[in-house]
Amino acid sequence: MTSTDEELVARSIGGDADSFNQLILRWERPIYALAYRTIGREEDARDVCQETFLRAFRALPGFRGQAKFSSWLYRIALNLCRDWIRRERRTGFVQPPEDVDLIDFIAAAEPSESIEDLVARKDQMRAVERAMALLPEDQRTAIVLKEYHGLTFQEIADLLGCPLSTVKTRLYQGLSVLRRELAKTAETL
């Protein structure tokens, strides 16, 4: 039977490192995805992911279960992303390269996907990536947490420490920017 996060956390606090490793297995992909979509760089997202779990492990004895473990992890990861963005003094996103690596290109193909579909999918993905890069950090974070992590408005508000109405406003503004930018991209294609 699968243990809950809370059970694994309790065992980890009791010194069972395996339980914490189970938590890593469970949460590393979401945390990495969050970091990647927030800062936009693969290698740095990996570093942030690792650092998140390191910090969580060190801070685990102080975790009292006031929030869900996942929310706690998200908060650590978002703080690290914010630090990274400030440290790097940039918007947080790097534009993807123009040239296409054919090997990566072919490797990314789904088994039943034609080259045309693959090209279209890659174009769409890059368009979204570019549009997301144009968003201010707070709007981008709200959209990432809502769209890709399925958090409720209230959870996002708690995580970001802002009123619920602010979360909605950020989402609305972010979606409006994305709508405009994606429409521009579609016109150029």
Partner: protein
């Protein structure tokens, strides 16, 4: 064309986002019902909701690169380094781990292990392969002897090695000498069996020299052995050549497929770029 002005009385942005995501936070059922009724009559809100839905579908296309398993942090009892990889391996099951460790063994060790297994298997089965005047015999501890007639083996061996046999001249000379001897026998028999019968000193002591017969048998035995050896060598060589050819073919096929994939991808990109250039030129030309 007249611009549609939204008449919604509440906070429109908040309502649109809540309605879009179906999130109850700060948007109760009464508000939802009221906004749904409004959307039914408001073209602007409908259009904006539809556009946001499209944006959300596009967002669904964006996935991060795959996370390598080596990137996982790992923690041990002391908070240091044992591995999440071990945990992952356990989670993946013992079967996968066993397959991985088997792949880690060098090829020569795997071959040695296979030979050892074969040897042990043959020992357990009491495998006994023998080739003598009675023919080829293959016997295990649980089976009776299987005999292949010498003549049959000789025929196949002779067919396989008709050319370039160093012993052929020797054998021809011996055959001629044997024919001469046989012609002198009273029975005048033309085959080797009759010759052997005739060579029996008890029946016809003066016709065929027993020494000659012994030499014939020895030479035939020797000849059979050589042919067997040669056949085995040729078979081994043929198998090696077939394997080498197969490997070469596979490499060539693989290389060709890779080249075709690269060419196809490159051609697609080239055509796409040409198309983009064409469209941009046409668009620029059409602008006043």
């Amino acid at each position: 064309m007249t611009e549609h002005i939204c008449q919604y009385s509440g906070d429109r942005q908040q309502a649109i986002v809540s309605y879009l995501y179906g999130d109850e936070g700060g948007f109760d059922a009464v508000e939802r019902t009221a906004f749904a009724a409004h959307v039914a009559t408001c073209e602007g809100c409908r259009a904006e909701l539809a556009a946001f839905e499209e944006v959300r579908m596009s967002l669904g296309q964006w996935s991060p690169p795959r996370l390598r398993s080596d990137d996982s942090p790992s923690f041990g009892a002391a908070g240091s380094i044992p591995s999440v990889r071990e945990t992952r391996r356990r989670a993946d099951g013992a079967k996968a781990a066993s397959a991985r460790s088997w792949r880690d063994i060098p090829a020569w060790a795997q071959v040695a292990a296979a030979m050892l297994c074969l040897g042990v298997g043959a020992g357990i089965a009491n495998l006994n392969v023998r080739y003598d005047a009675n023919g080829l015999q293959v016997r295990t501890g649980w089976s009776t002897a299987v005999s292949v007639p010498v003549a049959q083996v000789s025929q196949s061996v002779a067919a396989a090695s008709q050319d370039a046999a160093p012993w052929r001249a020797e054998l021809t000379a011996l055959e001629q000498r044997l024919r001469t001897d046989l012609r002198q026998t009273p029975a005048g028999a033309g085959n080797l069996v009759n010759a052997a019968t005739a060579a029996n000193p008890a029946n016809a002591p003066n016709t065929v020299n027993s020494e000659t017969l012994r030499r014939v048998r020895a030479l035939i035995d020797e000849s059979e052995r050589r042919q067997q050896t040669e056949l085995a060598l040729r078979l081994g060589e043929a198998v090696r050549e077939a394997n080498a050819q197969r490997q070469a073919d596979l490499v060539r096929i693989d290389r060709n497929i890779g080249a075709m994939q690269n060419n196809t991808g490159r051609e697609m990109l080239r055509q796409r770029n040409e198309m983009l250039n064409y469209v941009s030129i046409r668009t620029a030309a059409q602008r006043p």
